[in-house]
Structures are given as C-alpha cells and as structure tokens.
C-alpha cells in the first residue's frame, strides 16, 4: 500500500516543489544560513538545513514526523537571508500541512493541537475568541496545565483584555464564508 501511495503522491521533494513557495527546494546548496538564522533551530529534531537535505533524500517519514517545522515561529528570517531565495518558511508550512494530512505529526510538541484548535474556530465562526480557543487547547492537551493559566486569565480580565463573547459574522456572511471553505475542502488541497 505504501508503495502505491508514494506512486500516487510522488516524492516528498516533488510534492513540496509543486506547492506555492516550495518550487526552489531543489536549488538548496546546504550552506546552513537558514539554520544559523533560526531562533529555534537548537530545539528542533533536525535543523532547517538538514530537514531540506532529508526531504531531498526521500526520508519522508522522518521529516514529516519530526518536531522541526512545528517549532518554526514564521519569523521569515531564513527566507530573507537564503542566498538561493528558497522560501524556507513556506516549506515549513507545507511540511506541517502534509504531516497533518497524513496524521503523523510529532507527539513531542503541542503546536499541532494548538494550531488545530485555532483553525477549528476560524472554520466554524470566522473569528477566534481567545478565551474559548485557549480553553479548547487545554482540554485537548492537558487540562491541569490550565490551572497555571488562571492567575494570568484573571489579570487579563481585570485589565479589560478578555472578551467572553465571540465576535460573530452576520448569518449570511457566515454562510458565504463556509461555502468558500467547503469548496476549498472539496478541491482537495493546494
């Protein structure tokens, strides 16, 4: 089955190069400017430079199940410095999407669940009410950790920085938004 899947989807590097922003991945000269610029590379399973090398070497599973792209904060420093003009941040986003789609996201980082909780709100109401989003995230990860957040939440509340009520679009606008996203879903990804 795996072989069939690889035949259908092609190689990892081929897939990335077809995604907007990923087309220059084959031009990487492995200089390591990206890794040296990345504020979070030291916590990644594989640095950005190595991740690109592994993707090109066809190490699909190792790449997609690593924590590397989930520690990318999208600061784009690697992207503006890359001498080959490779959009490394975009490649990180593409790897995240692939790892979600194939359900192999690293269990050693909470970022996939956090992103998922955020995106679920975007999809369902077109806006992200911060308290509800945080509560959902903690319920899905570790409700006990939420206890630590109570003093902070209280402080935000007393400083007028927490709205309990979510901003809602007008019903017809919400329907329109959903129709667009459902169509996007039907089109089957980028």
């Amino acid at each position: 089955m795996e072989a069939t899947k690889a035949q259908v989807t092609g190689t990892l590097v081929g897939e990335i190069s077809r995604i907007p922003g990923g087309e220059r991945i084959r031009l990487c000269i492995q200089c390591g400017t990206c890794s040296a610029s990345c504020p979070n590379a030291n916590r990644m399973d594989h640095t950005p430079r190595k991740l690109i090398a592994m993707a090109r070497a066809g190490m699909r599973e190792e790449v997609l199940s690593s924590n590397s792209m989930w520690l990318c904060a999208s600061c784009y420093l690697c992207t503006v410095r890359c001498p080959r003009e490779i959009k490394i941040t975009d490649i990180m986003h593409a790897l995240e999407c692939l790892s979600v789609r194939e359900n192999v996201s690293s269990a050693r980082t909470l970022t996939p669940t956090m992103y998922r909780s955020f995106s679920d709100f975007v999809y369902s109401i077109g806006s992200v009410p911060e308290p509800s989003f945080m509560i959902l995230f903690y319920l899905l990860t570790n409700p006990l950790r939420a206890m630590r957040m109570i003093p902070m939440a209280f402080s935000l509340l007393t400083h007028g920085r927490m709205s309990i009520k979510a901003r809602r679009l007008k019903p017809e606008a919400e329907r329109q938004f959903k129709a667009i996203l459902d169509k996007a879903e039907e089109l089957g990804g980028i």
Binding site: P20, G21, C75, L77, T111, S119, S163, Q176, I180, K183
Partner: protein
Amino acid sequence: MKYYTYFPGCSSSDGGAKAYGMSTEAVARALDVELIELEDWNCCGSTPYTSVDELASFCSSARNLALAEDKGLDLVTPCSACYVILSKTNSYLKEYPELRAKVDEALAAGGLEYHRTIKVRHLLDVFANDIGFDEIASKVKRNLGGLKVAPYYGCQVVRPGPSFDDPESPQSLDRLIECLGAEATPFPLKARCCGGSLIISEEDLALGLIRKLLDSASSNEAECIATVCPLCQTNLDVYQGRVNKKFKTSFKLPVLFFTQLMGLALGIDGKTLGLEKCIVSADKVLAKYVEI
C-alpha cells in the same frame, strides 16, 4: 482627509489587544485619516491555519481581499500577522496561476470574485509614508520629552517582504518615535522574533526569546518598548512576569503599542488609548514626561 479600508483583526478588535484598536482609531481621527472597517471581515487565519490547511487559509484570506475590492481603497491593518497573511495571499494569487484558479473557484462558491487590485498595508507604513513624519510632528501637542523607547518591529511587519522597510534593520518606527519628541534607543534585536503563538504550545522556548528581547531593550536603557503587533505586545507584556520567574530577572518594562505613544503626543487622553490595559503599568514611566 485620507481614506482606507480597515481590517482590525481579531486581537485588536475585541481581543487581548483591544487597546491597539482603540488607540489606532483615536490616532487616525487626530491625523485626519478615515479608517472604514471592512464589513463582516473574517479572521485572516494567521499562521495556524496556513500550517494546517494551506488552501483553506488562502481562500479565507482571499474573501477579505474580495470584499475590500468593492471600495478600491488600500486595505490597512495594525496587526503584523494579518498583514503578512493578507499580503502573502495577495501576491501569491498574482504569482501562481494554479493557486489562483482554485481560490477563484472557492470564492465563486460564495458568490465572490477577486481581481487582485487591492494593496495590503500595515498601519506603520501608512503613518510613516502616507501621512509622513513632518505632518505627524506638526500635530504633536505634548512632546514626549526624551522618553527612551525601544522600537520593536518584530518579524512579520518587515518580512518576508518586499516591504516598506528593511527586513533586518528597519528605521520607520525609530523615526516615528523621534518625531514625537521621544528618543528611539538602539535596539539590536528590534526585528527578532518574540515566539508568536508558540508561547501557547512551546512556552519554555518562547520565554527564552522574550527574555532576550527584554534584555536587549533594557540593557540599552529603554524605559519602555513600542510594538506594532498584538502578539508581540501580549508576549512581552503579559508574559513578562513568567520570564522574571523562570530566569530570576526583574524586568519591569512597559510595552506600549506605537499608536498609544502617538496618541499621547497628539494630546489624546490615556483612557481613550487604553493605557490602563497594560499589565506592566506604564503610568510611572510616562508620568515623568507627560500628563496622562
């Protein structure tokens, strides 16, 4: 009077960065800038949506662009995350015909079309380049008297670009601060990352980044930090206590939106600017220079 379509973003409209929205609107009025809020805008999707479902994220962002096209005005947002997502969508729809075809098809399902005529702008760009430093300086009613401010740009306002300022050593906020009578301190980490939303999922990692920023600002004798992004403000202000606890530091640096500083200089009262919403209070520092 200058007119723009306004995209506040979730955080500045009614979220944790409400003070950003409040001060943005007050300052715009004082500068004869009319910000017309985009009706029924939806969340830009920010980094999370892009990282989970890229096509859906482009489509949700494109809906905002399509809605804005009716008016034909530049679309301005004070949020760096909204800015990077909306402008990336805008330029990718021009650059990648295959993506455009899919997005067009999805928009059509909602009865919309987007002809790619809109320009996406960050509020800092609009104030610095459309209004201009001289015009702002001429409207200053309360000179900020040498208040030492670390100009913090963060990442997404200047990167990936091409943008209105240098991607690594931007200057527009420095100049804006100076035209209010304040002093922009040297700030080597001015365009470095605060960790963004990773503060939620990877707190230890983000606290380390925030510490470096606070350290860089305070070692250059800044009395406060000015930011142009809701997420940066939240991380540096709300999590400052956690940084102090974790690293046994004693930072007490107020973190203000640049629009709050502008508002003070333009004579707007502190309440209208949402100054009391800072977790690390700015009152003491500001009181040395201006009446709040």
